[in-house]
């Protein structure tokens, strides 16, 4: 388990696209450490041969047939958007991947 350093908190913040102050970094480092430790305690209580549970109900193969269903209209789709233009959602340019 990697230690929750201030740098790791800043990295997590940048992945989550939130700005954090130095004071918050310290506070979150402390809080997140506590959470990670608690999860580690649960981990240590389970033997290695118990499979991880991703789905509590034993169910598989729930499929949809490949049939077209009505979509929203463009107006409906954009109705909740903060901003739109030319039938598209308008968002701030983010300097990241392309």
């Amino acid at each position: 388990m990697s230690e929750l350093t201030p740098d790791l908190v800043r990295h997590l913040a940048s992945l989550a696209r939130i700005q954090v102050t130095d004071a918050e970094v310290d506070r979150f480092a402390e809080q997140l450490s506590l959470i990670v430790e608690s999860v580690a305690t649960v981990n240590s209580a389970v033997a290695g041969d118990v499979p991880a549970t991703s789905h509590p109900i034993p169910m598989a193969n729930v499929f949809r047939e490949d049939l077209v269903e009505p979509s929203l209209t463009q107006e409906q789709a954009l109705s909740g958007a903060a901003d739109s233009d030319q039938g598209r959602f308008r968002v701030a340019a983010i300097l990241d991947e392309e």
Binding site: F63, L67, A93, I94
Partner: protein, 500 residues
């Protein structure tokens, strides 16, 4: 963004071993998206094929498209993969507006197919075995248009416009293991591999496989290491390489760029690079994220996919002939030399040829028309052969007209041109324009008389054994009959005269 300094390619290969890895995304051609009933179509009005599920509105619940799962299994089997008895979907978390959900539904530790292998032939005829690590199901992202700035690219953009029609379209991502040992042919191997994947998914009927529409997209990982070094070099991942030719160019460019840096004491940064088709270069993108950064976790809204053995065997039994086997069979049936056959394959004209032969043309004639005159005309117009207005049926008809002696090669080319101009099918054009070769002896004899009157000594020369003297008369007859004389018959008639 300047062109990086490059090492000469041959020199780079002398110093370094090349290792490549390829990730190919295949868009499936299902009617609907992966997790909702929105139409999976290209070119519709923006944000008209969207619903609460694919734009991630609160409370919406996804459901897996059965057809997409079956198509994915078919791809896995065609690549010789094992099919996972239990497959889960996972959330790949990232914040970028190409998906409105803030995560991509993908597969992480339990892909539907894994551990396959495929033999790839490169233009030299060498065959390399490429190991497939996995093929997993996921959803495509929406399309961003960057506005403002000067180029529409992200640098300098003021804002972006998002169309989610493509968000949620089913994708299968096929990932190879590192490929060693292709040396100077690594770029060709990368392109040939993607060509094979395209052929396979097209033959399976699970994708439209059109690269120009982004149905098949390739990310190319390239690293180099000094010969004899065990440790792998740092790799770069070049994205945005969307034609077979650019894949080859991008891999070659990366080899030369990395070789220059390492030879000059530098180090390679592990990063994503973008390929710029227009300038033939790659440029630095973001540093490559670790898988950890995506904080994958099992998708709680979708239950596992557990394909039964019956389903897997049923799909396996319905697989079409493997492209490599089909090629072997066709080459045998057509009795083409390796060189002739490779020429057809490399021109991407196998389907056209097969159909033309099925419509009655002789294989060699079909090959000659498609890879010769038709390819030449397409090239002259800067088009793909597939975009020309000619069908295999037209070519078969044309070849049959020539084969039966109704028209000769030269007239054939003229007819071909007319077909491309939309004048109808070959037989109609020949009839409309009266292009049929004249083999009626009466008409030919009259023209021969006329020609001999101007060159009276020809018959004497032929009698002396100088058969080539007939050429001048044949030429004159062809000219008088506007190229429509049956040259073979004219020659026979002249020799008959000389020996009469």
């Amino acid at each position: 963004m300047a062109k990086a300094e490059l090492m000469n390619y041959e020199q780079a290969l002398e110093k370094f071993e090349v290792v490549i890895g390829l990730e190919v995304h295949v868009e499936l051609n299902t009617n609907t998206k992966m997790f909702c009933g929105c139409r999976n179509d290209f070119g519709d009005e923006p944000n008209t094929n969207v619903c609460p599920i694919c734009i991630g509105l609160p409370g919406s619940l996804p459901a897996v498209n059965r057809k997409a799962v079956e198509s994915s299994i078919a791809i896995g089997l065609a690549l010789g993969c094992e099919i996972a008895p239990n497959g889960r979907f996972s959330r790949k978390n990232y914040f970028y507006p190409d998906l409105a959900k803030n995560f991509q539904t993908s597969q992480y530790d339990e892909p539907i197919a894994f551990e396959g292998t495929i033999d790839i032939e490169v233009p030299s005829g060498a065959v390399y075995t490429v190991d497939i690590e996995r093929a997993h199901m996921e959803e495509d992202a929406g399309k961003l248009t960057h506005v403002g700035g000067n180029t529409g690219r992200i640098q300098g953009a003021e804002y972006s416009l998002v169309d989610y029609n493509r968000a949620g379209v089913p994708l299968v991502e096929i990932v190879t293991k590192p490929v060693y040992g292709a040396g100077a042919e690594a770029p060709e191997l990368a392109a040939a591999y993607v060509r094979s994947i395209r052929e396979i998914v097209k033959a399976l009927g699970v994708s439209d496989a059109r690269m120009e529409r982004g149905n098949v997209r390739c990310d190319a990982n390239v690293s180099i290491r000094p010969h004899g070094q065990e440790k792998l070099g740092t790799r770069t991942e070049t994205k945005n390489v969307n034609s077979l030719r650019s894949i080859e160019r991008a891999v070659r460019y990366e080899i030369q760029r990395q070789a220059h840096i390492i030879a000059n004491g530098g180090t390679i940064t592990q990063e994503t690079r973008h390929w710029h088709e227009d300038r033939g270069i790659t440029s630095s993108g973001r540093p490559k994220s670790d898988a950890d950064d995506y904080r994958y976790f099992p998708e709680p809204d979708l239950v596992p996919v557990q394909p039964s053995n019956e389903l897997i065997e049923q799909i396996r039994a319905s697989l079409p002939e493997k492209p490599a086997e089909r090629r072997k069979r066709l080459q045998g049936e057509w009795q083409f030399s390796d060189l002739e056959f490779r020429d057809v394959v490399n021109s991407g004209l196998l389907d056209e040829l097969e159909e033309t032969v099925a419509k009655g043309a002789k294989p060699q004639a079909a090959r000659k028309w498609w890879t010769g005159e038709i390819a030449r005309l397409a090239n002259a117009e800067g088009k793909d052969v597939a975009d020309l207005a000619i069908t295999p049926a037209d070519v078969a008809e044309l070849a049959t007209l020539v084969e039966s002696g109704k028209i000769n090669d030269r007239i054939g080319r003229e007819v071909l041109q007319a077909v491309l101009e939309g004048a109808g099918n070959p037989a109609k054009i020949v009839a409309d324009r009266g292009l049929e070769v004249v083999s009626d002896d009466g008409a030919l004899q009259a023209a021969i008389d006329e020609a001999l009157a101007k060159q009276p000594d020809v018959l004497e020369k032929i009698r002396e054994g100088k058969l080539q003297a007939a050429g001048a008369v044949i030429g004159a007859v062809m000219q008088a009959m506007k190229g429509q004389a049956d040259a073979g018959r004219v020659r026979e008639l002249i020799i008959e005269r000389a020996n009469a």
